[in-house]
């Protein structure tokens, strides 16, 4: 990682200080439907996503993690509480729905590249929409960033013509083109097989080391969470609230050899019972609903 200081220096010289994109979630409640009879999805949830770090949220499917992510992104409102991005209130009392913006870009579960645009048109979409750079400049930057992410040669293909793993990488590059303060990843690798997943994890870390953008990552895969995260937030099943928060002190940069270390296994041991307990509760709740 000898390039890293140089990259960081050039970024900080051009723009704001590198450490930005922290999210604070304060006592957030989300009820779908009416306040007294509706479905409680998020229950007084409080935790922090530190700037410039990867924070991974783990919990059973349907526990309400995505609800939280949608609230940060500004796709859905919250019922009470507040969410801050650095010092700016995204949503809170008096403004329950955040305004979506290029400072918080979501990478979706099944991907949301526009199928009718070529990969490079997808990647340049943000800057062109925001009017921050002319098309030629956006094209140059997109080409450079795609090449950097190992995506040379597919610029003029459509997303439907490339594999789902590659699509996910294009989508992350598209997100980064917006210069976001934080990336919101909603189980982006869920549909991938485990081998592709391991490649994607290392690629994501590489992108992270180069760009040092804050990442909020949602998954139900505990191993993925510990491998990627500076911090892992284990969620209870619906209604969701942090059950356990761990600081993963395995030093970055990490690669796949981490998985076999003693420290990694200790973290797994420490958390697997908690996650399993919630999974059983989620399963039982699902049975009851049926």
């Amino acid at each position: 990682m000898s390039v890293e200081p140089a990259v960081m220096a050039s970024r900080s010289a051009v723009a704001q200080p590198v450490r930005q994109g922290g999210v604070r979630i304060n006592d957030v409640v989300k009820i779908y439907g009416a306040k007294d009879t509706g479905l409680l999805a998020v229950d007084h949830c409080t935790f922090e996503v530190p700037p410039g770090e990867i924070t991974v949220c783990v919990g059973p499917s349907g526990c309400g993690k995505t609800t939280l992510l949608n609230a940060i992104a500004g796709f859905h409102s919250i019922t009470s509480g507040s969410i801050y991005l650095d010092d700016e209130m995204l949503c809170g009392p008096g403004k329950l729905k955040a305004q979506p913006g290029p400072d918080r870009i979501v990478v979706f579960q099944n991907g949301a590249l526009f199928p009718w645009k070529t990969n490079i048109e997808n990647v340049t979409f943000g800057p062109i929409m925001q009017g921050v750079m002319p098309r030629a400049e956006a094209d140059d930057k997109a080409r450079a960033m795609m090449a950097d992410a190992g995506l040379r040669g597919i610029e003029h293909n459509y997303p439907g013509e490339i594999s789902s793993g590659v699509r996910r990488r294009v989508e992350i590059v598209r997100a980064l083109m917006n210069n976001p303060k934080i990336l919101l990843l909603d189980e982006p690798y869920r549909a991938l097989d485990s081998l592709t997943k391991s490649v994607m994890h290392e690629a994501l870390l590489e992108i992270f080391y180069k760009n040092r953008v804050s990442i909020f990552f949602i998954t139900h895969d505990l191993e993925e969470a510990i491998f990627l995260g500076h911090k892992v937030v284990i969620m209870t099943t619906r209604p969701c609230r942090p059950k356990k928060i761990l600081d993963i002190d395995i030093p970055h940069p990490r690669d796949y050899s981490v998985l076999t270390t003693k420290r990694f296994r200790e973290f797994m041991e420490e958390t697997v019972a908690a996650v399993h307990e919630e999974a059983i509760k989620a399963f039982a709740a699902g049975e009851k609903e049926r």
């Binding site: 290029p102 979706f108 526009f114 009718w116 979409f125 943000g126 917006n178």
Partner: protein, 283 residues
């Protein structure tokens, strides 16, 4: 030998695939032989097949067609029907696409217009013929109007369905990346609906052919053919006229012409549709 023929035909046209193509050839050949034998059953076998013996033989139809393609009145009929089909079809596209988009985009407009639309939609286009003859000043316009109805409802329904089916994540992603409402309409809704527009148009043009022929028969072929005779008032009128004149080979020849014309229209639209939606093509 089959392999060689297959290789040659494969090179000649991109469409000709392997086994499926030859299955199709065999099926059509068998069908024609059965038809020929059926129509000539009395002469060939000494007794008449039921039903099929009443139909002119394919060779006779082929002769009739060969004669017809040399007659200007036949081409005039084909031209008139094609013209009506395209008048109605383009009017349906021109009105149907914006209407469908508006209904998909605006909840208020949908609430107002959809009930009326849904009451009118099940009425078969042909049921409109008498009303349309009364309402429109010329026969030509009334036929075009009925043709229009044939494609219109299909197109609108497809546009609404297509626009509604666009994944909400595309809207969310576009919003996050700073798109205005107009950007979202132009860059998400329009291209996202395009595949459904193509489907609606392809299905719609087929219905249009079905409708135009019937409308011509009922209304007497429009102004151009209302005086009767071989002057020709569209293929529908041509078939009806052949029936009245007792020329059964011409009836079947006219039917086949409509089949070919309908197929050509759909194929042309599919081709245009593929060009407009390059992201859907395989490979």
């Amino acid at each position: 030998m089959v392999a060689a023929a297959r290789a040659i035909s494969g090179k000649l046209t991109g469409f000709v695939a392997g086994d499926d193509f030859w299955r199709g050839v065999v099926a059509i050949a068998a069908f024609l032989i059965f038809w020929e034998a059926g129509s000539r059953s009395h002469a060939w076998f000494g007794f008449s097949f039921p039903w099929v013996s009443q139909v002119p033989a394919p060779t006779a139809v082929l002769q009739a067609m060969f004669r017809l393609v040399q007659e200007p009145s036949f081409w005039n009929s084909t031209f008139l029907s094609t013209l009506r089909v395209f008048e109605g079809f383009f009017a349906a596209m021109l009105i149907g696409i914006p209407l469908g988009l508006a209904m998909a985009v605006s909840r208020t407009f949908f609430g107002i217009s959809f009930p009326v639309f849904e009451v009118l939609r099940p009425i078969p286009p042909l049921a409109w013929v008498p009303a349309s003859i009364i309402f429109w000043p010329t026969q030509e316009l009334s036929i075009a109007f009925v043709t229009f109805l044939g494609a219109f409802f299909t197109i609108v329904i497809n546009v609404i369905g297509g626009a509604r089916a666009i994944d909400v994540r595309y809207f969310q992603a576009a919003r996050s990346m700073g798109s205005s409402t107009w950007d979202i309409f132009r860059r998400i809704i329009l291209p996202g609906t395009l595949p459904s527009i193509v489907v609606g148009a392809t299905v719609g043009v087929g219905i249009t052919w079905a409708v135009v022929v019937a409308a011509e028969m009922i209304s007497g072929g429009g102004s151009a053919g209302s005086m009767g005779g071989a002057a020709g008032g569209g293929l529908g009128f041509f078939i009806w006229n052949s029936y009245v004149g007792g020329s059964y080979t011409q009836i079947v020849a006219g039917m086949i012409s409509i089949g070919i014309a309908g197929y050509a229209s759909s194929a042309a639209l599919r081709k245009i549709g593929n060009l407009m939606t390059p992201w859907l093509s395989e490979n």
